[in-house]
């Protein structure tokens, strides 16, 4: 961690209040917003994800880091928009119909944003039709489906079917407490993420496989 830029360190440690000054220091030093995102923020969130996967940190530390990253993006996103810079990939994410749990979905959304993926969060209790519509509306290459309850697993299956019916070449990654890789394969999803830390690797793997 000592080799990382102070901005990356602040994000990883979740020191949100330090972030605006550190971002400004990067800008004052002549770094553009895209460079700051790619060389300061993305590596810090990737490191957070790795530490989470290794059980070195837990959900609260991960969320606090994501809040700090969000603080940086609050400053940088207008600059990125002004410069016409868009992330390479767009994802649509949500918790499937009948399920109101959002912790896992929120964590994955934050990790994907931290990996420089544009994320459209549809929220909880999202119908299959709404997912399918959003994929087209946002030109998404990636969809994340979350479910915590066994009772909502059938909704995950019908959502995958609805998205496939659009004919768009979108990759679908699913996750949640009762979900297994076998279930993902059974319902025709492209990937399975057992936790938020793995969600970035899985997303990149399925996107790469499809490119």
């Amino acid at each position: 961690m000592s080799e990382l830029h102070p901005l990356s360190q602040a994000v990883m440690a979740g020191r949100r209040k330090e972030v605006p000054d550190l971002v400004q220091q990067c800008l004052d030093a002549g770094e553009d917003a895209k460079t700051i995102v790619e060389t300061r923020l993305v590596p810090s969130m990737m490191a957070v994800g790795e530490r989470f996967k290794r059980n070195e940190i837990f959900v609260p530390e991960m969320l606090i880091a994501a809040r700090a990253m969000k603080e940086a993006l609050r400053i940088l996103e207008p600059l990125l928009v002004a410069a016409g810079v868009r992330p390479e990939h767009t994802a649509v994410i949500g918790t499937v119909e009948g399920d109101l749990h959002d912790i896992g979905k929120n964590l994955v959304a934050m990790m994907w944003k931290g990996a420089n993926i544009a994320v459209v969060d549809l929220g909880v209790n999202v119908t299959a039709a709404k997912f399918a519509e959003a994929v087209g509306q946002h030109g998404a290459q990636l969809v994340g489906l979350s479910a915590l309850l066994t009772t909502t697993m059938p909704a995950m299956r019908s959502t995958v079917q609805a998205i496939r019916a659009t004919g768009r070449p979108v990759k679908i990654v699913i996750g949640g407490a009762p979900i297994t890789r076998e279930f993902a394969e059974e319902i025709g999803a492209d990937g399975f993420a057992p936790d938020a830390g793995s969600a970035v690797d899985e997303a990149m793997a399925v996107l790469k496989a499809g490119s």
Binding site: V59, P60, L63, V124, T150, P154, P178, E186
Partner: protein, 354 residues
């Protein structure tokens, strides 16, 4: 079947649970499964007497005197918000973004009243142990704010309500939630509940970082344990036993703290090795659980494997000598299209060779 009517005091409810444990009793938390065998399940949950009938039917189906209500942990939030003019349809996604004001005193109505009527119907039968159900104040708080994890972590770092508005919202929601939980517990006791299943599934390591807890338990004690102790004191005053349930992922320190609640029975999720937790929980508290019923829907988990798991858990718990009732890690939910698959596995663990 033993008659709880003959065991009306607090002491005898605990005795009943211990006696059942000594008999090698097994039972799932299965009311949802049986409810959804009825084509008009949606109508049944709106009528207390019929709901009570299904709770009793569940006890009969699984040959247990334990009359366990539906584990519906949305009731308190809906009632609390309803008293503030939030429609039931909006309740699931409604969150406070500033500390809620005093409002009116908790009033038991709507689905709370239906649940109490159901308990009353069960109690009238006389041969079952009428049990109540409720959400713990911490878990209720997590449903009342959009992001509860970050402010809890910040509070654990020493950030006060005066310094951080999100911490202020969390702390006020905890206070408010406790008022409603206490009122609902009292109402269920008044309806005839002899034990209250208090569910605190959010008190787990998703919401509390083990790293932070390693530096001190003040935040866990203040946000989770103090409200639980207040409820326990109320239950003691009402002559109702506490059955504590937490199916979240826990640390040993959390288990040690829950063990101090003097619960008549504790139910943990399948992430816990109950035969190891038996060392942490006093002998006067029965352990319940904890077969991985959330995975019963999976084709990969066979009926045979469930039987094997049940026999193994039973044998390990017998070896500890700790009072134990074999059961589910949480309520067993009925899933459309998979009802038979799930019920077959429940029946498998009930019948597995001891």
């Amino acid at each position: 079947m033993m008659s709880p009517a003959a065991l009306p005091t607090t002491r005898s409810t605990r005795d009943l649970l211990h006696q059942l444990a000594a008999q090698g009793h097994r039972a799932p938390i299965g009311t949802h499964l049986i409810l959804h065998r009825h084509p008009d399940s949606g109508a049944i949950v709106c009528e207390g007497e019929r709901l009570g009938g299904v709770i009793a039917e569940t006890a009969d189906y699984f040959h247990t005197p334990l009359a366990v209500p539906l584990m519906d942990l949305t009731i308190e939030k809906e009632a609390l918000l309803g008293a503030r003019g939030v429609a039931p349809a909006e309740s699931p996604t409604y969150h406070f973004d500033e500390p809620p004001g005093p409002g009116t005193a908790p009033e038991v109505q709507g689905r709370m009243r239906i649940a109490c009527d159901a308990i009353r119907a069960v109690a009238a039968r006389g041969d079952l142990l009428p049990m109540g159900m409720g959400i713990g104040p911490f878990s209720l708080m997590t449903k009342l704010v959009a992001d509860p994890i970050s402010p809890v972590f910040l509070a654990g770092q020493g950030t006060t309500a005066a310094e951080e508005p999100e911490v202020a919202v969390v702390e006020r929601c905890l206070e408010l939630g406790l008022e409603w939980v206490l009122a609902y517990a009292s109402a269920q006791a008044g309806a005839g509940a002899k034990a209250l299943i208090l569910c605190e599934p959010a008190a787990n390591l998703v919401y509390f970082s083990p790293h932070q807890l390693a530096e001190g338990w003040e935040i866990f004690d203040r946000y989770v344990m103090d409200p639980l102790r207040a409820i326990k004191a109320r239950l003691d005053a009402l002559g109702v036993e506490l059955v504590f349930h937490d199916c979240g992922e826990l640390t040993q320190g959390m288990v040690e703290r829950f063990a101090t609640l003097d619960a008549a029975m504790i139910s943990f999720g399948s992430s816990r090795l109950l035969w190891e937790d038996a060392r942490l929980v006093p002998a006067h508290t029965v352990l319940y659980g904890n077969l991985p019923t959330k995975r019963f829907i999976s084709e990969q988990l066979s009926v045979g494997e469930v039987s094997r798991m049940a026999s193994d858990l039973d044998a390990r718990m017998r070896a500890t000598g700790h009072p134990f009732i074999l059961g589910s890690e949480c309520d067993v939910l009925s899933v459309a299209g998979s009802e038979r698959v799930i019920l077959d596995k429940v029946e498998a663990f009930l019948q597995a060779t001891a």
